[in-house]
Each structure stands twice: as C-alpha cells, then as structure tokens.
Symmetry: C2
Amino acid sequence: MIDISGTYTDQYQLTMGQVYFSKGEAEETAIFDYFFRKLPFEGGFAIFAGLETLLDYLQDFKFSDKDLEFLSTQNFSKEYLDYLKDFRFRGKIFSMKEGDVVFPGAPVVRVEANIIEAQIIETLLLNVLNFQTLIATKAARMAIQAKGSTLIDFGLRRAQGFGGYHASRAAIIGGFEATSNTRAGRDFHFPVSGTMAHSFIQSYENELDAFRDFAEIHPKNAILLVDTYDTLKSGIPNAIQVGKEMESRGEKLKGIRLDSGDLAYLARKSREMLDKAGLDYVKISVSNQLDEHLIKSLLDQEAPIDIFGVGTNLVTGKPDAALDGVYKLSLFKNKPRIKLSETIAKVTLPHRKQVYRLLDDSGNFLGADVVCVAGEGNPEMMYHPYDPLKFRFVGDVEKEELLSLVMEDQKRVHKETSIKEIKEFSKKRLEQLPTEYKRFFNPHIYKVGISGKLKDERNSLIEEHKNKRS
Amino acid sequence: MIDISGTYTDQYQLTMGQVYFSKGEAEETAIFDYFFRKLPFEGGFAIFAGLETLLDYLQDFKFSDKDLEFLSTQNFSKEYLDYLKDFRFRGKIFSMKEGDVVFPGAPVVRVEANIIEAQIIETLLLNVLNFQTLIATKAARMAIQAKGSTLIDFGLRRAQGFGGYHASRAAIIGGFEATSNTRAGRDFHFPVSGTMAHSFIQSYENELDAFRDFAEIHPKNAILLVDTYDTLKSGIPNAIQVGKEMESRGEKLKGIRLDSGDLAYLARKSREMLDKAGLDYVKISVSNQLDEHLIKSLLDQEAPIDIFGVGTNLVTGKPDAALDGVYKLSLFKNKPRIKLSETIAKVTLPHRKQVYRLLDDSGNFLGADVVCVAGEGNPEMMYHPYDPLKFRFVGDVEKEELLSLVMEDQKRVHKETSIKEIKEFSKKRLEQLPTEYKRFFNPHIYKVGISGKLKDERNSLIEEHKNKRS
C-alpha cells in the first residue's frame, strides 16, 4: 500500500532542507514554476491533468512516524527532524485549470512557499502532474480520432504498477467514457465496464454454453467475446444464436468483442452477419494493441466499430514514457532567479509570473500564450522568448488570465472540481483550439511568448551572472 | 493512497465470477500460467521481479467495506456479494525464483486456485509482475554496461505516477546500488542518496557560498552540482576551492555531479582539473537522460565516470512501455484447456506444467528451458513448440526444476526473500547465462522447447476443437 507522506520525495530535497534549516533560512519564501519543454507524441497540444490529485495529497502532507523513524537513520540533525515532525505544506499554489490545453514554456503551476516546503513537495508534484498530463493528452488524441465511438480504458494489467490508478483517472479527463479498472471507478466515480475473458470461454466445453450462461446471468450487460476459437465460423454464429434466444425472452444482446485478427475486416463481416440475423442493435467492440493511429485507420476504413477498448498504449503513453515537466526556482528572498545554460532556450524565466492566453473575436484561441511578470497588467507586446527578431503588438487582443490561486492555508480555495467537470471543461477548451493544432502530422506550433518586462528582467539577470564570472 | 484490496482488479474478473458463482462452479479448481511472449528492449533475457511484492499483497487480499459498498452498486447479486465478503486468496502459487533470468513462452508463475480466486487476482498479478520484470530487466542491461561504476536511480519525478515506487525496487534487483526515492528506501531497505539540485545553487548569491554551506552541513556526503552557471569556468574551480578547504579541516569532498553538456568531455576535463588540484579521490557522477546505450558509449570513450544517476529511461523502461505478460487458463475441472489462434505460435500450452532448465558441465546455462507436463519426470526429448522439424535428445543433460511452491494456505511457504538476496541471486544467474545472450545487437536466442508429452497433449486438444467445429 502507498500512503502519501513526507518520504514520498527525492532524498536531495531533504538534504537541501537540512542546509536551509541549519543556516536559518527555513522561513525564506521561494517561488517555483512547473512547466514542460516538449509536447508529447509530436503533437500540437497537451491536456493538463493531476491538479486535484495533487491538492488532495498536499492538504494532508506530513511526515508519518514511520517516515521520521527512517529519517533518523539518515544523518539529519535532531533539530531538523523535530522541524519535519511539524512539517505541513502551508504555501500557496497558483495553477492553470485542470483539463486546460497547455503548451511548452509557460508555467502551468506556480508554487509560493518557504524554501523547504517548496522543495519537499517538488517530487510529488512532478510525479503526479507529469504522468497524468501525459496520459490525459494521449487519451485526448484518441478521443479526437474516435469521433462518436466510445472509448474504454482496459489498461490496468499492463500499466506501470500502481501508475495504473491515476492513468485511468487521466484517461477519463482526456475523453474516455469508462474503465475496466474497478478501483479507479470506485474512487473517482466514473463508470466501470467489463464482461468476459478468453478463459471464460475456455472453461466451458463449448463456446455456445459459455455465451448462454453469461447472457442468462448478465442479460443487460452481455458483450460476448467471439474470437476464442474462430470468429466468423464459431464466435459470431454462436453470438447470433444467443442473441435470438435473448430476443425470445424479451432481452437484448448488448454487443460482441473482437480481440484479434484483422479488426477492420472482422468488424465488417460481423456487422453483416449480425444485421442479416436482425441483430442490428448489437454493438461491435474491438481491442488489441490499439492506439490513436490504429483507431484513425480503422475509422478511415469505415469499420463499423462502436466501442474501442484501449490498454497498454493508453495507460503507458507509449511511445513517450514521460512528460518532461520540470520545477524551477524563479524567485528567492524577493530576488528573481535564473538558471543559465549553454543554450538560451534552456535559460529559465525568472520572477513571479502570470500567463495570458490570446483570444480571437469569437472567444476561441488565437494560438499564443504570453508569459508576464505577475502584476504588470495586460501586456502590450509579445516577444519570442529568445529570437530577438520576432515580436508582435498584442495590446488590442482579448486575453484570459490562466494562473489563479487554488490552494492556501492547507486548503483548496474552491471546492474540489469533479472529474466530470474537468472532463467537460477539457472538451470545451479543446474545441476552442483551432483544428490545425490538433492534427497528427506537423501540427501548427502554438506560440508561447514573453512580455517586454519579463524579457528585460531575464536579460539583466543573464548580464549580472556573466559579469560575476568574468 | 492506494491499499491493495479486492477492487484492485478488472471489472470483468468480477463479472465472470458472478457467472461461476451463480452456476455453482465457485469451488472448481483452475490452473493459470503467467508467461510473456516477447523479450523487452530487443534483448536476449529478462529478469523476473515482483514476486515478493505480489505474495505480500495476496496474503492479505480481501474486499474492504468500501469495495463491497461500491460493488453493491454494480448489478451483482446479494449472494455473490456475501461470497466476496469472505473472499480470500486460498490457492497455491508455484513460481520461478524472483531475480532469475526468464525467457518467452515458459510459464514463470503457475496459479492453482478455485476459478473465482484465480480470476480476481489476475489483474494484480499482471500489474505487479509485468512492470517490475520490465524495470529489473532494464536495470540489468544498464548494470552489464556500467561494469564497475555505481548506478543510482533518480527516476521518481518522471515515473508513471505511483509506478515509481516499485520501479525503484525493481531497479535495485536489476543491479542498481541506491535510489533517490526516499519512500522506496524506507520500505524496501536499500540505500537512498541525494545531495543538491540547481535550485540550491540558484538560491545563493554565488555558487561558491552554496558549495561551502553544503559542505559544512554535510561534510561526509557532499556531491557538488557543478553545471548551474558554467561547469569548467565556475563549477569545477569552486568545487576545487571547497575541496581544499575541506582538506584543511581534515574532511574529504565526496564528489561532483555533471547534469548537462557533453558528459564525456566534461568528465575528462573535470577529472584533469580535480587531479591537478590533488583531489584525485573526488568522484565524478553524471546524470541527464542516460540509458544503457549512453552508459556504454560514455565508458567506451573511457570517460572517467564513477557514478551514473539514471532517471526516466530506467523507471519507465523506455522505449518499451510494458512487458507483454499474459495469464492463460491451462486446466479447469481437471481437464487441460487451450486457446486456439490463427497462428500456432499463439496457441496456449495446456495442462499443469513444470519447466526444466538445461545446464552444461560447469553448471552454467546451456541455453534452453523445456516445458513439460508436471510429474512426467525428466524429459528425454525437447521439441520446438511449433516447428515439427526441430527436436533434440536431452535425456543426458543436467537439468534444474524451475517452478516450486511459494504460497499456500494464505502464506508464503518460505520466509520472505530480502531484496539483497534477490539481487545477489539475480547477479549469479546472469553470470550463468552465456555472454552471447547478454549482448545488445542480435543476441543469441534462448530456446524454450516442450516435451513430447506436452506436445501430444496440445495437439490432441487442437484436433478435438477442430472436430467440434466441423
């Protein structure tokens, strides 16, 4: 079992904390930004997910007795361990809304807290947000392709261990309708779904008896798996027979599932056979190594598929194993901070920041976010973060502020947003994003620029560090 | 928080369970095999991991009140819910040893239990074993390349959510020495490690003060991160200064860490500068998107690296997101069972089975495992599972039985094996595997054959099903 407490962190957070503590800097305020540098899946957008999960854990975040006992073996001072005994996350969290479409370079979350608090929660924050954002994005890509068809998460068995728990949550946010993961359904309140495995068919002397028993016991929820022996010669004929028997009892067979072979061909043939038998209401569901590209290909071929069950490629975000989200110090002791790098693209943006999204006349997204110093007001100009030749007047463009306070004094500022609300918000925001950003190949690049004030602040800090060195 | 209980499963396990229960088959014994079909990473072996984790969870596996409350909303019968209230896993588990080298097609775990128990634990078993085996294999690939250098797991922040917990466990089994993951260290009893992030350096007015404070507070454990501003012009000179100051106090700087840039070049230059300053004992550690190929490349270039910190590519098993392990019914009501398929390679092996590993004269692995019907005794012949032209006499070859009873009556048969023991066993077994199976490119293919008796049993079941259909 995993409970979230103080040791759900990287050891260096605690090691640095010891130094801040010993040097009397424990109460100094720091600001950190959470952002990522590269969109996953060579796509044009990401869906931000995991915020409510994070806030849940942060509200109760403390060191357990077991944690403190372990840490007492780790070369920390007695005084510091006493400090950790009373540790709570008492800082503020500013964030974009969970479910929003988000882009590289703009802070998605801003943490303002004393330096020890801000460091200790870093690992949990990255662990939760990187993964759920990855999976919600993957799910949204599938949902865009699935059009009207239903998507169901089948991933738990191939998920990365306990990662499967939040993968199912993120899948729902990204557009899935249900999950096979009973635990996730129980805890996050969304529909769970599941009928039978091949083993069920194998456990009977013949397929027909297996179908019959299942339909008898689950008359409202019978989706028969038809490929155990031979889909078109055995599975579908037996399913039709059971479907007709159900009709004679005033019941309706819900569907059949294909889990191997050429899904486009088998779906078409199955549809023909079912329709011919008068079972045109029986739904066809498919599974077996699906991803967004296969879903697109199947529907491009006009395969008559009603339900897609997606496993491994959904819950692991294959082929991208991780979102590259980072957490960077931007202010400490009221002084803006940067991290230099050989390439200016990796120099971090200093200061307490706000992000504005540009809107077009109809309220849709214009295709750019502007990162500003918080409090500087509506930015007039947007600059490319490191190409000095690229800038644009945006003073007359409608804008939306993206970061707002979501947590302070160990509590959410508003009541918890439900998965359903997050899912609906996400869908709406994706609709506001022009279609060119949503295509698979060479999607339009959404711009993230910076304000003049932020550019100047950053450049003067770069100068300062250069002078110090020379 | 995640606690492992009955709803940590796929809904269809419960749906099928309802049918078995209603049809009076709840007490019928089933045998399922856990095996995988494809080695990850295009490699020549896998390291089996996760068994002790699984046994821990199975010992206490039951439905909580919260589980039962949720399931009462899911169209199950009152009688079945009462049955689930008393549910325990009372079956037997036979398994290969955790840490062993394992290969596609041979059963790694065999579960014998009543059909409902065997189905309900399927998802947990696959979720735990697939993931830890993937990561232990990835870690072992890195350990083979790292030769004498130390490997440390830095992955938690980029792990797939809570998957990071067991990823750290599996990394240790595969050959890592320590982890940054404090929680995993606490629970699994292996060394945790961590010093400082860039934010620590940024929080100071200058790098030298940051290094000095850290060395003062952690004199025995100072690994200074030298790339925040400029590795060779600022980081290393400041580290040398602090190292000399430590010497004057009778202390020793432990190491420096490089986290960006050309690691081979910077390691060499850093080594030169440190040695010239008399700090030849200061270790060089590196991190930044490492994997087994980069580790090999760095050491092929003779980069003087003592410690590798590996994150994302370790804990997510990138580029392979999942091991394709499956769980197939092989016997029910004392009758062997198979699942047919269009291709014979995917037809499952029926019956209660045992696996023998062939050994050479010196006790090393000959390069083949033979799958037999349990109890048939030492197999005389080994057949290719589906190429009838390939077989071999193995009656005179030394063999080792791989599957043994590890759990019955809700308890481990032996006491829990420690991570340290598993890690040492794994290392020894990898040494017994000839080197051709361990290389990266076109590794030798380890053979998994079947006995004559098993081949005949399978073929007659295939015939039986064909006759039934025609």
